[in-house]
């Protein structure tokens, strides 16, 4: 007979039992209002394998600081050489934004300071080595003579390895102080929002001034389906404007112009915690189904069915000064924007039929975004994957050292990856170009 063993803890003992949370409480993440818009800078050391000659001066000077003597095996940086390829690699802490070593440390000896530096507290470290196993760079290094863990602390802001490297293969960076693409994008989004929602109300759906006309391509498709005829040459050609823009520059409308996209980006700022979608809902093909449904529904019902609930359209029609509080459509925008608590740009990823139309058009695009294999730090950085609002950069591929292929039909051309990449590895290329300039990889 199986006997289930249970340990009865005395009541008095239970009251006074301590766990790790009591001994070393995890510090609460301090988020200021300003940090939503300008996240704290990410200080780290950039390594240029092309310049490194493998002289080991970095190891010498680092060990001098760590243990007070020249003992390269006790350094927090290690240069290894691929003897066949003649390539040097530096194993060096990247002070990740979300350090895996910190999560793995059983004694919580590793903390990330407000200055972005990830440090090991010698007081609590037991040299168990779990951090080394958890780190994708294996950057906490175990000294072979005494098994002590050494990890880069950026010499508290003035890294000696950077100062003494004779080839200038190491560069200390505090991240980009001002990301001009970010500034330009927010400004453009704000102006677009102002023009489409407040000033020229309803003009996104259809706009005509003299001989110039512009129209939503998805709306035009529904119009054709519902009316059964191509009524206006002008109407079709006006829809083509956005499609041609997409052919020239990808889905730049979604990332830079769409007023609902702007609303979603703002909502994202105030809902940093995401709950995630159940996996059965996470299909990017859904939006093509919505598009087919919108066109089919319009054909069956005889009017532009989806346009009545389109968040972009309702935002442009119902939130202007004249029409505010006059429309029943007002609830649609907050309802769909609330999807942002599940995932960033949920609507754009899975449901938006306008995005689907532009995505289909983007198969003919002239440009693409590439992440250069040679420059990309891959497994330790993955900042591009972190900032991508539509999550099309595969972090797992990056961790495996593979340059991810970016599906341009899904990319909204927000260029966050280009803006964030500290190695300048993410670039815009023509679709027929195969690599980032300066790289010989085909």
């Amino acid at each position: 007979m199986n006997k289930q063993l249970t340990i009865q803890q005395p009541e008095a003992e239970r009251e006074f039992s301590l766990n790790l949370e009591d001994l070393r409480p995890r510090p609460a993440e301090k988020k200021t209002f300003a940090s939503y818009f300008m996240p704290p800078r990410h200080s780290f050391i950039l390594f240029d394998p092309e310049k490194c000659t493998g002289c080991g001066t970095c190891e010498m000077i680092c060990s001098t600081r760590n243990v007070g003597k020249v003992a390269p095996s006790s350094a927090s940086v290690k240069v290894i050489t691929d003897e066949k390829q003649g390539k040097n690699f530096a194993i060096l802490c990247q002070h990740c934004r979300k350090p895996l070593c910190m999560e793995a440390c059983p004694t919580r000896a590793i903390e990330k300071g407000n200055d972005g530096i990830v440090r090991i507290s010698r007081l609590f470290c037991t040299d168990c080595g779990l951090c080394t196993m958890a780190c994708p760079e294996a950057a906490p290094l175990k000294a072979p003579n005494n098994q002590e863990i050494h990890k880069c602390d950026l010499c508290e802001g003035e890294p000696l390895c950077v100062k003494y490297c004779p080839e200038k293969a190491l560069t200390f960076t505090r991240g980009k102080a001002f990301r001009w693409i970010k500034g330009l994008r927010w400004t453009t989004q704000f102006i677009s929002f102002l023009l489409l929602v407040i000033v020229f109300i309803g003009t996104f759906c259809y706009f005509k001034a003299g001989s110039v006309s512009l129209a939503c391509p998805t709306g035009t498709l529904q119009n054709i389906a519902s009316s059964g005829t191509i009524l206006l040459i002008g109407g079709v050609s006006s829809a083509l404007v956005l499609l041609i823009l997409t052919i020239l520059s990808g889905r730049i409308f979604c990332g830079w112009v769409c007023p609902f996209g702007f609303v979603l980006d703002l909502v994202d700022k105030i809902t940093p915690k995401k709950f995630g979608w159940p996996s059965f809902l996470k299909s990017r093909m859904t939006k093509y189904g919505v598009l087919a449904g919108a066109v089919g529904g319009s054909y069956a019902l005889g009017f532009q069915a989806f346009c009545t609930i389109c968040p972009i359209g309702t935002l442009c029609r119902s939130y202007g000064v004249q029409s505010f509080f006059k429309s029943a459509e007002l609830a649609i925008v907050p309802a769909l924007a609330s999807l942002e608590i599940a995932q960033r740009r949920s609507w754009c990823r899975y449901f938006c039929p306008v995005g689907a139309t532009l995505g289909l058009t983007a198969t003919l695009r002239l440009i693409k975004i590439v992440i250069g294999a040679k420059r990309c730090k891959k497994f330790s950085c993955i900042q591009c994957a972190e900032v991508c609002p539509v999550a099309i950069i595969d972090a797992d591929q990056l961790r495996e050292g593979i340059s991810p292929k970016i599906p341009m039909t899904e990319c909204i051309m927000c260029m966050r990856c280009i803006d964030r990449c500290p190695y300048d590895a993410a670039k815009i290329r023509f679709r027929w170009q195969k690599a980032v300039p300066g790289e010989n990889r085909k």
Partner: protein, 431 residues
């Protein structure tokens, strides 16, 4: 007070291969003060030991913040020249020996079977290495790393030395060396397959050494030699060096440096080639580190554009490229060259063959960047203090005073050292 205290472990390792005994003894302070270190100290230790020992030594500046402080010196009685020779070993072998806890290593006697020495944490172990007989050097390293992955530096002999080939050359890892004086043959005669250094300890050196090193680097940074780096920059100093350089057609080049060297003189090359000895047509992607300028130039003169596959074959077998070049004829095809090398290895030849060429006191691989007495002085200085001789030949503006300043700030001590240094250098050439 001993000014060398932070620069040396003050320990000598002594191995008797015939009795398999190892011990670590203290380094006599007075003898260090007299000879400073490196080749001069090696000579002194050699004279105190019976039975034709091999002496491995470091200089006081080896492993320190002096630029290019990578040198280990192996001193032995060369059967080829019947005199003491000093072979320089660069890359990281010198610092790793020091950081393994000993400054000098004496290897006496002859082992009963092929053996390998493990040196780490101030301890020496002698282990059998019969399974490594006749194995190419890259495979030997793979085998050794399987059992002791933490070891950093290897001084090895290849199948050429195992079979008594007169052109055998010792190798630092799988990268070759500047040994053209028969050091590998002496190791092989003692049945010493190699030495492994763990390099897990360290030395304090002087507190202000990092800044002194940086200052020295800054001083030479304006020199044209500093700007022209890499293997070819040295090659052009040799007779027909430019012609040899033209034979170098590679897909990728990358300059590589020895320990703490700001001005690399080595280049890693990647190349593809097809082995004509094999029937299947398959391009092989290979890579090797070019560090032996003299050997490369000699071989390039004979084999031209086939230089890289032939050189790779020499390094795998532990052969001196200059020695191989001496028996190859000009205009031979790659197949003929590789077949000749295979024949050299398989012939189990005796030591009767005489190698032509001018092999000198310091292994024969240090290029004549300077000439005459100046060359002797610079190389002698390097071989005593433990700094790369090629680096000191390239930058003659670095004086002995500059280097000695790393050892002490005391003017009296420095004056004594300076006075002693010139006589110590001279003694190297009169032994």
């Amino acid at each position: 007070m001993n000014p060398f205290q932070p620069f040396y472990n003050m320990k000598i390792g002594v191995v008797d291969l015939s009795t398999s005994s190892t011990e670590v003894i203290s380094l006599d302070q007075d003898r260090v003060l007299k000879h400073l270190g490196g080749a001069a100290m090696n000579c002194d230790i050699f004279n105190y030991n019976q039975g034709d020992p091999l002496i491995f030594g470091t200089g006081p500046l080896t492993g320190s913040f002096v630029p290019a402080s990578s040198l280990m010196i192996a001193t032995f009685l060369s059967a080829r020249f019947d005199r003491l020779c000093h072979v320089p070993f660069m890359l990281r072998s010198g610092p790793d020996m020091k950081f393994s806890g000993i400054d000098f290593l004496v290897v006496k006697g002859t082992a009963a079977e092929q053996s390998i020495l493990h040196v780490n944490n101030g301890k020496i172990k002698m282990l059998p290495a019969g399974n490594l007989q006749d194995i190419p050097i890259p495979e030997t390293i793979r085998e050794l790393k399987k059992v002791s992955s933490s070891y950093q530096s290897f001084i090895l002999t290849g199948p050429a030395a195992d079979r008594g080939v007169p052109y055998a050359s010792a190798s630092i890892g799988s990268k070759g060396s500047l040994d053209k004086a028969g050091f590998a043959a002496r190791m092989s005669a003692k049945k010493l397959k190699g030495i492994m250094f763990g390099g897990t300890d360290g030395l304090t050196f002087n507190r202000d050494n990092p800044d002194q090193g940086k200052e020295l680097e800054k001083r030479i940074s304006e020199d044209k030699n500093f700007k022209h780096k890499g293997f070819l920059s040295i090659l052009k100093n040799l007779e027909d060096g430019m012609g040899a350089g033209r034979a170098l057609t590679v897909s990728r080049k990358k300059d590589m440096a020895c320990y703490n060297c700001p001005s690399p003189c080595m280049t890693h090359v990647t190349f593809s080639w097809q082995d004509p000895r094999k029937e299947e047509i398959q391009k092989i992607q290979d890579g090797l580190l070019l560090l032996d300028h003299m050997g490369f130039a000699a071989l390039a003169r004979k084999v031209g554009k086939n230089i890289l596959p032939v050189l790779k074959s020499c390094l795998d077998y532990g052969l001196d490229p200059a020695g191989v070049a001496s028996i190859l004829s000009e205009g031979e095809t790659l197949l003929e060259c590789l077949s000749t090398i295979d024949k050299i290895i398989s012939a189990n030849s005796t030591r009767a063959t005489c190698i032509p060429g001018t092999y000198d006191l310091f292994g024969g691989g240090i290029p004549p960047i300077l000439t005459g007495d100046l060359w002797n002085k610079r190389v002698g200085l390097a071989m005593i203090l433990g700094v790369c001789p090629i680096f000191l030949l390239r930058f003659p503006q670095i004086t002995d005073t500059d280097l000695l300043a790393f050892l002490s700030t005391n003017e009296d001590v420095l004056k004594t050292m300076r006075e002693g240094l010139s006589s110590v250098i001279e003694s190297l050439f009169t032994v």
